[in-house]
């Protein structure tokens, strides 16, 4: 019997798979990345929970939306290599491209161990140094029996969850406050995930050119600077 994919007819189908994939403990390398938060803390732009909320909101509606749509499109079955190119086109910072591919490669390892399938094998063979992380995540979601909106939720949540965890470590910010920031962003997260899933369906019909291309220039600039710091706690 096929036991590795959920029965789509079951109530709450694949919800557990979604929890496994979205869990911060999923071993895909994310814990060493701050999503730009380390640079923002150093520059004095994040000092407390209010600043963290503003940072997360900005990240969510820019790179968060773009990444979530890429993941949703991959989960919807849009060609992963075309999406990988679309991700490059939407990532002007070489440092962030390198980070996205590094994290994609690390996610690939965990994904192939947890939800082995031909689609992941094919992408790993075509991009042995790593495809962009949101693309790998979308293909992984599909392998786990999840849909585009699930993939978009995962990426959107990671977009804000990563910086929040990093700021707890960097500033000693009260972890309850940091988690409350995430909870208060939930309606916006849901909205971004829905938009991303909608864009993915459109890309299925009209190609990857229609996917969102929102970006945060300050995140791009500080990522370049951060990559050159001699002393840092986080890889990005």
């Amino acid at each position: 019997m096929d036991t590795s994919t959920p029965d789509p007819a079951a109530p709450g189908a694949a919800r557990t798979a979604l929890l496994v994939l979205a869990d911060g403990r999923f071993p895909a390398g994310g814990h060493a990345h701050s999503g730009g938060a380390e640079a923002a803390v150093k520059a004095g732009r994040i000092r407390d929970a209010t600043d963290l909320a503003a940072f997360c909101r900005g990240r969510l509606h820019t790179t968060g939306l773009t990444s979530a749509a890429l993941a949703a499109a991959a989960a919807a079955g849009v060609d992963a290599l075309a999406l990988d190119e679309a991700a490059d086109a939407r990532t002007p910072s070489p440092a962030l491209r390198a980070t996205a591919r590094k994290l994609g490669r690390q996610l690939m390892r965990a994904a192939r161990a947890t939800w082995p399938c031909d689609a992941l094998d094919a992408l790993a063979a075509a991009r042995p140094r790593g495809a962009h992380q949101p693309v790998v995540l979308g293909v992984t979601a599909r392998a786990a029996g999840l849909g585009p909106e699930d993939a978009a939720h995962c990426v959107a949540y990671e977009t804000v969850g990563g910086p929040a965890t990093a700021v707890v470590r960097l500033l000693g910010l009260d972890p309850f406050e940091a988690t409350a920031v995430l909870a208060r962003l939930a309606p916006e997260l849901d909205q971004v995930a829905r938009r991303a899933a909608g864009a993915a369906h459109r890309a299925l019909a009209e190609g990857t050119g229609t996917l969102p291309a929102a970006s945060a220039p300050l995140l791009d600039i500080t990522a370049e600077a951060h990559a050159a710091w001699p002393v840092r706690l986080f890889a990005s």
């Binding site: 994919t5 814990h31 390892r109 192939r112 082995p116 094998d121 470590r169 840092r232 890889a235």
Partner: protein, 225 residues
Amino acid sequence: MHLDHSHDSAMAVSADAARPDGTKRALRIGLGGPVGSGKTATVAALCRALREELSIAVVTNDIYTREDAEFLLRNAVLPPERIQAVETGACPHTAIRDDISANLEAVEDLEDAVGPLDLILVESGGDNLTATFSKGLVDAQVFVIDVAGGDDIPRKGGPGVTTADLLVVNKTDLAPYVGSDLGRMARDAKAQRGELPVAFTSLTAENGVKPVADWVRTQLAAWSA
């Protein structure tokens, strides 16, 4: 889904003993232990002692700098392409135990770039007494403590002291100055570890790393057998 055939065409998953091309991969040994106990000094001394007979590479996991990697470079114990530093996001134990992705990637990159390798040493960022390596990352682990950290550490135990494949008690040259009782440390370690080996070292002495180097040679012989 397709659980009937293997999915290791482009990369080994983690603990697989073979490289994707089927040849045996390098033996991976982790070195853990508190900050300052002498992990980097041990790695450097091991490289010097073994580099003529073995093809070696090193992965460092500094807490917030590249100092360990730079120390090894500065002291020219290995050429730079054989040393890789991994960032740990302020959580050195996570990177060697709970989420070993970045370390596995570094290991793979080293094998690709300068392999085939016989031995890869993975130095942890230095942590508390509970930090141990995942079996998905290393084949054997060394826990390095020193006499200056207090001669009651072996008695306190903890996963590192109790379960490491080799316990190294370093800086024995300092024992008289810090009032550490080496006999007591040896008895306590024996009580915690049973038959597992313990090495007392002083890296300031000529060939002080010999007990550890000999242990590595034994591990390698078993690995290659």
